[in-house]
């Protein structure tokens, strides 16, 4: 149990919207081992986004415990959470979330800036990360000079550059056409092949089916956890098992 990279035990996240209590997550428990590739699927409102925010240490649960790399995030200060994100998590977002005024290289360097890595070292590692996603030629271009697929590659390089424990991707193919989406998905597959731990949040059963493992959420609870193909099929059947 202590060996797992991510360990969630009875995670709950409750909000108060007006006088209405909302249980975005309600007793979610699972583990993710090192080198695993897990898809999180579910319809909108199922709690996917909330789970992703908690996994990414952008939000903290109101109940249960979450350990990442053995560290309990409960009670960590805002600064400590920022440092944890910087070290342990590499984010890939649906809308890329690149800084428009910065070059691809500067975007990729950003996590290292916040880690205090010296300039030259930063530059070297960012170039390396861009090379690993096949963008060595476009390093000095700004996001608006890149195609959607290229932008998402830059985002992946930015997620990888700090050598985090976990790649956390939120609908990474959602804003791409199917061919480009496939290209990005293959990039994740390749990263998984190199030993990276990946959590992929998606609403597409088609993609979840190709992941070794998938978790299906509904109304803030896990309704299925198993091989991607099986879990995805439940979704294709149109609801709970």
């Amino acid at each position: 149990m202590t060996d797992a990279l991510l360990a969630l035990d009875g995670i709950a996240r409750h909000y108060q919207v007006g006088s209405e209590p909302v249980r975005a997550l309600d007793g979610v428990s699972f583990e993710v081992g090192r080198g695993d590739w897990v898809a999180v699927v579910g319809q909108s409102g199922s709690g996917k986004s909330t789970l992703m925010n908690i996994l990414g240490c952008l939000d903290t649960p109101t109940g249960g415990t979450y350990r990442i790399n053995g560290q309990d995030v409960q009670g960590l200060s805002d600064d400590a959470l920022a440092d944890l994100r910087n070290r342990e998590i590499g984010f890939v977002f649906q809308t890329f979330q690149l800084l428009a005024r910065s070059t691809a290289l500067a975007n990729v360097e950003l996590p290292l800036v916040y880690r205090g890595v010296p300039r030259r070292e930063r530059r070297r590692r960012a170039e390396e990360a861009l090379g690993s996603v096949g963008l060595s030629e476009r390093m000095h271009h700004r996001p608006n000079e890149l195609s959607g697929g290229q932008r998402q590659r830059v985002a992946v390089a930015r997620a990888l550059v700090g050598d985090p424990s976990l790649l956390l991707a939120d609908e990474p193919t959602g804003n791409l056409d199917s061919a480009t989406g496939e290209e990005i998905f293959r990039l994740f597959a390749a990263l998984h092949g190199r030993g990276h731990t990946i959590v992929l949040v998606t609403h597409e059963p088609r993609l979840a089916a190709r992941c070794p493992r998938a978790i299906r959420l509904m109304d803030g609870r896990i309704v299925a956890d198993g091989p991607g193909r099986d879990v995805a099929r439940i979704g294709a059947d149109g609801g709970a098992a």
């Binding site: 952008l58 939000d59 920022a82 984010f91 950003l110 880690r115 205090g116």
Partner: protein
Amino acid sequence: MTRIARALAELVEGLRIALGALSGHRLRTALTTLGIVIGVTTVIAIVAIIQGLNRSFESQIQRFGAHTLYVSRYNWVSVSGDWWKYRNRKPIGETELKAILRESTIAVAASPVVSVTAAVSRGERSSSRVQVTGVGSDYLVANGGSVDAGRFLLASDVDLTRDSAVVGTDVADRLFPGASPEAVVGQKVLVAGHPFHVVGVMERRGRFLGQAMDNNVFVPFTTFGSLFGNKRPMFLAVAAPPGRVPDLDSELTGILRRARRVPPGRADDFVLNRQDQFLKVYQGLTGALYGVAVGVGLITLVVGGIGIMNIMLVSVHERTREIGVRRALGARRRTILLQFLVESAVVAALGGALGTAIGLAIAQVIALTTPLAAAVEPSAVALGLGFSAMTGLLFGSWPAWRAAHLDPVEALRYE
């Protein structure tokens, strides 16, 4: 070690971001800084002119015999209270002059000074309101000034009550238009209808407190007395060697009390005036002006600061998603705070620099086109820049705080 490296990297990054954001919105940046520019411009221009006035005043005071005591019946600067008391005092005159010349071991020069406004003419040409001053031969040593052509009055001019005169350049120009100072020496002029020989022409002195210093004629005080009578209030200019003015002050007090028979225990019935008394009064006046300038500056800086706060709030709002991304990638709150503080400080400092430059330019233009002088001390520039950067930090802190306390989840989701 890594903490310092990280803080430094964050600061550099903050500066880079700030410059990028500002150059991305040039017009907006320019309009934002306008308030600061106007404020700093005003303050720098006013301060430059005040400092210029101070400096020229001080240099003129210097020319006036900084080491000179002026023996008079009343205090030149603060004529306080009972002026009858002063008026009824025994006049200062030759008795006191002789006593000083006889007894003082410190004084290097002493001269009486007595003035009247009179007409000076030569043939058809005349000047009606010339200051005619009766002095001794040591006047220049005691009071400052020098002769351009010819000579000043000699002891023999005074002793023999000669009709010798030394004229100021304004008088020379009026009565002898186009003539060189040398050509004026040896000519005859009428002072209050009485013929005088011009023995010398003074060097030009310019203006002092807005008063022409060259519209005058110096004559022996003895001749002055026989022409205008001995009732006019006289004072004595007595010079000390540099640094010995306080010694001379106490020595003169003793000599004058004896000469004027002031009983022990009674207050002096004379005053030893000094030029730097003027300086004190003057500095009091400009101090008040300084206060007004600083007040105006502060008000405009506050207005400018509110402009900066406004635009920084807009900037934070526009970059909500960027803030979310940075937070997700590991930026601490402090880092975001610093980034926006740097940005507002840079905007304000830009305004400060621009305002300083414009203020200096305005001061120069004023100095060149009006009788006002202008000078700028580095302290004024430092003050302008410092104040504006402070304004940026102060008014940027609330928007920066808001940016730093955005919820990363909300910020990332912001459209």
